[in-house]
Symmetry: C2
């Protein structure tokens, strides 16, 4: 399965000039935990997530309406391409504790924003399917089966 199939159709994004408040509003509107921050060419400059809100905004005293998201975003970020397999993305996200991973084209333009939730669901489905086929195989082989 292509990795893009696991992403939501339209990745949640804000522009580099957006405020923190605008980025949070997108997250609330789309019920997601992170947005990609992109330049005018849709190239990924960073991501801004719930974790950034907790770590950099919540106790900072900063006014989200007046603070550019680029000041609080996480950057640079690791990214994946359509050649990355879900398994590779999964390993990287679990080992590095990432919750979001942008998928970009060869020019760094955003194609999708993968979330750990999507990937965990995929991995569970995949393991369950493997288990089902194994059980099928075993039960076909069983005496009297």
């Amino acid at each position: 399965m292509g990795i893009l199939k696991l992403c939501d159709e339209k990745p949640p994004t804000v522009g580099l000039e957006a405020t923190v408040a605008e980025a949070i509003q997108v997250m609330l509107d789309k019920s997601v935990g992170g947005v990609a921050v992109v330049d005018g060419e849709q190239r990924v400059a960073g991501i801004f997530t719930e974790r950034d809100v907790l770590k950099k905004l919540a106790l900072s005293g900063l006014d989200p309406q007046q603070t550019p998201v680029r000041h609080l975003m996480t950057a640079p970020v690791d990214m994946a391409t359509v050649e990355t397999t879900p398994g590779e993305a999964f390993e990287e996200m679990v080992s590095r504790h990432y919750r979001h991973l942008p998928i970009v084209d060869k020019d760094g333009r955003l194609l999708g924003l993968l979330s750990i939730r999507h990937l965990l669901q995929w991995r569970l489905d995949e393991l369950s399917q493997q288990l089902d086929s194994m059980e099928q195989y075993v039960s076909n082989d069983a005496p009297g089966g």
Copy 2:
């Protein structure tokens, strides 16, 4: 496996009288995404999570130093007991999109705070182990094996 084994040893908590700022500081210090809010008897009154920070604090203009956590916590919350199996907890958390589930004794006192991250790791380990034993079984049965 008992469900408490899956939780961190000391559940992250704050008292009912704590401020939002104190709750966030505990989350930052312990690198967790949520804390249980407990009364003087350690009974769970609610939970306060990254999602509450995003939804109720980030754009509210409230001063976290002046706002009691009980005003922004999620309450009431569903809870589990030591009789709940990891599988039951997993089903509930995935289907209801919970990331945290308090484990309480019969008096509602906090024993542990289960996170979806713990449970997903458990579920993946469990499925992988099942798959391994199946493969072992199949390969033992294979011609020439």
